[in-house]
Amino acid sequence: MCLGVPGRVVDVDGLTAIVDFWGIRRETRLDVIDEEVSPGDYILNHVGFAIRKIPAEEIEETLSLYELLLKEADEDIMAADVRGEIEASPGVGLGGAVDRTAPDADGKPRGGNG
């Protein structure tokens, strides 16, 4: 979907970044962003790809707006899309394993789009 989701870059390795989305660390691709990205930068993530570096002065507002959305109930479709955007990046952790088809709370798998 068109919303994208912001996250903080923790580490960069070539075209892959480890990005922190409210405590959840995931991999995001840097193939299409048009600026150099370093740890500490904030990016907008769309279907697993960073599409834009968020300007420093916008970071606080952007993050808190999305945090508000994330607090919405599971069945809220805007909130579901934001969660889907986070799911769009593979998890990083022990062995990097992640269940990519994990269903939402309502049991229906969803995917990002738009």
């Binding site: 405590g23 769309h46 707006l65 805007m78 990519r100 088809t101 995917g111």
Partner: protein, 382 residues
């Protein structure tokens, strides 16, 4: 390096941001200003947005309740899942039914084809993987020797991600069945539809993050209709609409960027370079709307080796001897996406057609008008 965001800090900041982008007083002020502009125009004004996320924001925050009664904000073809044409779904269904592994975005699984959806095919034993990202589809292909088809949908913002995995040398068993669509050409079509009568467009902020706002300038020149690029927060949408009705009032066909925190005139050039290196535009049908010249994004010949349509003979015709279901014939998704009908005009809406048992694509996707109105209510009866 900045410290990780702690939830308590973010919580405090959330309150501040709510005031800035969701302040009800500011919202009423913007709506009031729109009211005076519409009064000055002295007739009904209708504008169109072309983004499911805009409709989500408008419906979720009940913005239509404060908009001037003489301002009609129509949702156009802004849901990429919804405009995926039936034969495109059929291609994926036939491949899946023939035992090819199909990976796709979750919304696409339940979109009806001529006789069945990918979900129906899955129930009959086909292997369909839901992915959130093109990169995940590539990972699935890397983990197996069998053919993996990524059934790719979405507008330019999402097509960029598909382009990126294609140029990054995917494994030989990976291919892309592109149902990607390109928004600017359909705006040309809708602008010319007499029944729709669009006087201005609210363009989607994140598609414009990629393409840049200047992309709309030739369109504005050709059609004499203003385009305002807007973000997705309630005040972003209202401020965008206010600017748009002002441009309508002043008969000023201009492109105005009301989302400068994400959008620049030139856009993301690196993303554009990859998009156009991999894809070319091609005419094709958008579900329910029309044949849209240059509206489809298809792989260039240089990438034929990754193009599912070149790799497989897809015998979709065999589905076409079956008659579509009777309910499908009643569905008015096409009119809704063309902006000439609303979900309330459909006899099936909320009855035979619900998010749990969708008849048309508009009830399937989170960006579909019918699903959004079903969750939040649409045009309140005032």
């Amino acid at each position: 390096m900045a410290e990780p965001v702690r939830s308590t800090d973010a919580g405090l900041r959330a309150g501040a941001a709510e005031l800035k982008f969701r302040d009800p007083a500011k919202a009423r002020e913007l709506a009031g200003a729109m009211e005076s502009v519409c009064e000055a125009v002295g007739r009904e004004v209708s504008v169109m947005h072309v983004c499911g996320s805009h409709e989500q924001s408008i419906a979720k925050y009940g913005l239509r309740t404060i908009l001037p009664r003489r301002l009609d904000v129509i949702m156009g073809p802004g849901c990429p899942v919804c405009v995926t044409d039936v034969p495109e779904v059929d291609e994926a269904v036939v491949l899946a039914a023939d035992g090819v592994r199909v990976a796709t975005y979750g919304d696409m699984v339940r979109v009806p084809g001529t006789v069945k959806s990918l979900a129906d095919a899955q129930a009959e034993g086909a292997r369909v993987d839901v992915v959130y990202s093109a990169a995940q589809a590539v990972e699935i292909a890397r983990g197996t020797a069998e053919e993996v088809v990524f059934f790719a949908s979405g507008f330019e913002t999402t097509a960029v991600a598909t382009a990126a995995v294609i140029v990054a040398d995917p494994p030989p068993n990976f291919s892309v069945l592109s149902a990607h669509k390109y928004i600017p050409p359909v705006m040309e079509i809708v602008a010319e539809m007499p029944a729709t009568r669009v006087e201005g467009f609210l363009a989607a902020g994140h598609a414009a993050t990629i393409t840049g706002s200047a992309l709309f300038e030739p369109f504005v020149e050709r059609h004499g209709i203003p385009v305002v690029v807007a973000g997705f927060e309630p005040l972003d949408v209202l401020a965008g609409l206010l600017k748009l009705v002002e441009l309508v009032r002043d008969q000023e066909p201009l492109v105005v960027n009301m989302y400068p925190r994400c959008v620049t005139p030139e856009g993301n050039r690196n993303a554009q370079e990859q998009l156009w290196r991999v894809f070319r535009t091609m005419g094709g049908r958008w579900r329910g709307i029309a044949h849209v010249p240059n509206g489809n994004l298809r792989l260039r010949d240089e990438f034929a080796h990754v193009d599912t349509r070149k790799r497989f003979q897809i015998a979709v015709e065999r589905l076409w001897s079956h008659a579509p279901s009777a309910l499908t014939q009643v569905c008015i998704c096409g009119d809704i996406m063309a902006g000439i009908a609303s979900p309330n005009d459909c006899d099936l809406f909320g009855k035979e057609c619900t998010p749990d048992a969708p008849v048309g694509a508009c009830m399937v996707s989170n960006e579909g008008t019918c699903k959004i109105w079903h969750q939040y209510g649409g045009h309140p009866d005032l």
